[in-house]
Point group: C2
Chain length 375, copies 2
């Protein structure tokens, strides 16, 4: 059954409430990323990415195994993806930024799946033309993250269907309705496209092995809500098809600017989209929920609560220097930093980031075709 | 639920027992083909095909509507198909022969679907390479029936998946698991590929409309066991997608050479395959079940029972002249014709038919590529 974990819910389609990540690790049966593992990764990368230091990537499956294989001279590939139901927001960028880092450090190929079929099947409001259209819009944001055009293959499920469907039926043959129902909580009212879809989402785990005619280890960087797809389907089926089980590295959810939950396009006033103009970004951030107190006086006396504050979380993502993040944390805690000042600064940081991202996104229009693979 | 009709069973995967076709028409809710309708068809074709005269095609849905549209200047296309799990046998040829006649008389395009995906998903013994391989073997038999290469499009679900999957997800979005379960009797142990497959099988009903960008009426000639696909899926979904409901014309099952049931590749000793050499055909027919009596004396006295005799049924299919069929019937009934003589003659008729079919099948290897469409 989908994980409804008391006060919070995490499924591939929904994240609600204040997520207890330790509980999630226990429930999902994943492994926390320890300092020791971070050190081991650093041996290969030469540094530690801020997202690892700051535990934004916090959990994994078989990451040591992937490094063992890499050490033995066997390169892995990366697989991640996006459900193109609308414009990209900053929450989406976090795993992509980290994936780009992994590609660079490990010289890994990336297979990037755009699940335009799923978004169409899942959402009664969306036409297939719309979701396929967003495949191309979102691909610009992926490319803007700096991926290597020689090693990056972005594909739409719909437009790459000839290659995908062939592998998907081989996966689907091993997944009964019971299994799919147990993993995803399908109901009698679920449409048959959604029921088949887990087979499609598992395809990229094995795609390079099929294309290259030899077993290639797979590492999936993605938010932890996608874990059921790999745990319940890809990892179950892999040995039956003679493939390696895909390894995973999981990120936390990136909060929206409202109270609780992850950044979601369905609440556009609390999400910063990559195509938002600067004024809109500014006004969204200035209206953000924070960990601040109700009055200035109370804030000065008790200090704010950065742990629940999306503004603080964004510094964690965007500031390169740990010292700067720490400073925000301490000044907030001590009641020195007020929310107004804090938000003004974040607005500037985000605008600077987005200005650069938007420039690269515009550039990406020229190279888009180099990245897209079709049948 | 699948139709288990007392003493006989008819589902898309199984036909068992002595089929009562009048009961089947009532249960499925189709319409019998009347003499009046045959006359109406003859106005367009200029003749009456033996399969109509002999009620081998006996039931329909919306055939008058298709003729109305044709009369109003709107051409229809034909859609039929084959599950390529093995070699073609003579039972398969019957709807194809009739479909070729309809193509010729109505100048209709034919979309011919090879469901290599379904046969792989349904049968644990078959690899996908095997079923795709039989797509090409079976296509030779289709072409040997004399279809027009300019108007005939044969495709493998696997190899034409790019075009098919796009349309299939649009269909699938409107089919809940409940509906699919009610129509096909899916169970918890059914794999998710089979659950999705009804959407794939419905695609060709709308494919020409999608390709041409306008609504084109569809007529499906097929054995009646395939009716659930069109009744439960294609005809339900058509209005939601803005397409015409497909019309149908249904054939009876072609019996095997054993007692009861339809000709089936799973009982190869009772099925005549198009690739069988003459000696094998001869020995299979000589061992056939018949409607004869246990002794020659009893046969002379009481006569045989052509109604239950596969040998007689084959004359109905293969002899052009009604007078010749009638003569076999009467001579058998009157005890004049003995089974040995009867089978010897059928063996000659079938061998003559197959010799010509095999010649055309060999020829078809040269034109195969003209008929196959891929993405």
């Amino acid at each position: 059954m989908p994980n409804k974990l008391g006060e919070f819910t995490v499924t591939p389609w929904e994240v609600k409430g204040e997520v207890d990540y330790d509980k999630l690790i226990r429930e999902f049966g994943t492994t926390p990323i320890t300092d020791e593992l971070i050190e081991r990764i650093a041996k290969f990368t030469g540094d530690v990415h801020p997202f690892l230091r700051r535990k934004i990537f916090f959990s994994h499956r078989d990451l040591n195994w992937i490094l063992d294989r890499y050490e033995a001279g066997e390169k892995f590939f990366l697989y991640t993806g996006r459900g193109p139901s609308g414009h990209t927001h900053m929450g989406h960028l976090v795993p992509w930024i980290f994936t780009q880092y992994l590609q660079e450090k490990f010289g890994a190929e990336l297979y990037f799946q755009m699940t335009d079929d799923e978004k169409f099947l899942h959402n009664s409001e969306l036409s297939l033309d719309t979701t396929v259209g967003f495949t191309y819009e979102n691909a610009l944001d992926v490319i803007a993250c700096g991926f290597d055009p020689e090693k990056t293959f972005i594909f739409s499920d719909i437009e790459y269907a000839k290659t995908i469907y062939d592998i998907a039926v081989k996966i689907a043959k091993h997944i009964t309705f019971s299994t799919a129902k147990a993993v995803f909580g399908f109901e009698n009212s679920t449409n048959i496209g959604m029921i088949f879809f887990p087979a499609i989402q598992a395809v990229p785990c094995f795609l390079p092995s099929v294309l290259k005619g030899k077993n290639v280890p797979c590492l999936i960087p993605a938010a932890i809500d996608q874990d059921p797809y790999w745990r319940g389907v890809a990892r179950e089926v892999a040995p039956k098809l003679g493939f390696y089980k895909p390894a995973q590295i999981h990120s936390k959810f990136i909060p929206g600017l409202g109270q609780g939950g992850k950044m979601s396009a369905s609440e556009p006033e609390t999400a910063i989209f990559t195509v938002d103009p600067p004024e809109l970004v500014h006004s969204k951030i200035m209206r953000s929920f924070t960990g601040g107190r109700s009055t200035i006086q109370e804030q000065r006396e008790k200090g704010g609560i950065p742990e629940i504050c999306p503004v603080y979380r964004y510094y964690e993502i965007l500031l390169k220097d740990d010292k700067d993040v720490r400073e925000v944390y301490c000044r907030c805690r001590e009641g020195e930093l007020l929310c107004g000042e804090d938000k003004l600064r974040l607005s500037e940081v985000v605008q600077t980031f987005l200005k650069e991202h938007q420039r690269k996104r515009e550039e990406a229009k020229k190279t888009l075709e180099k990245f897209m693979v079709r049948d």
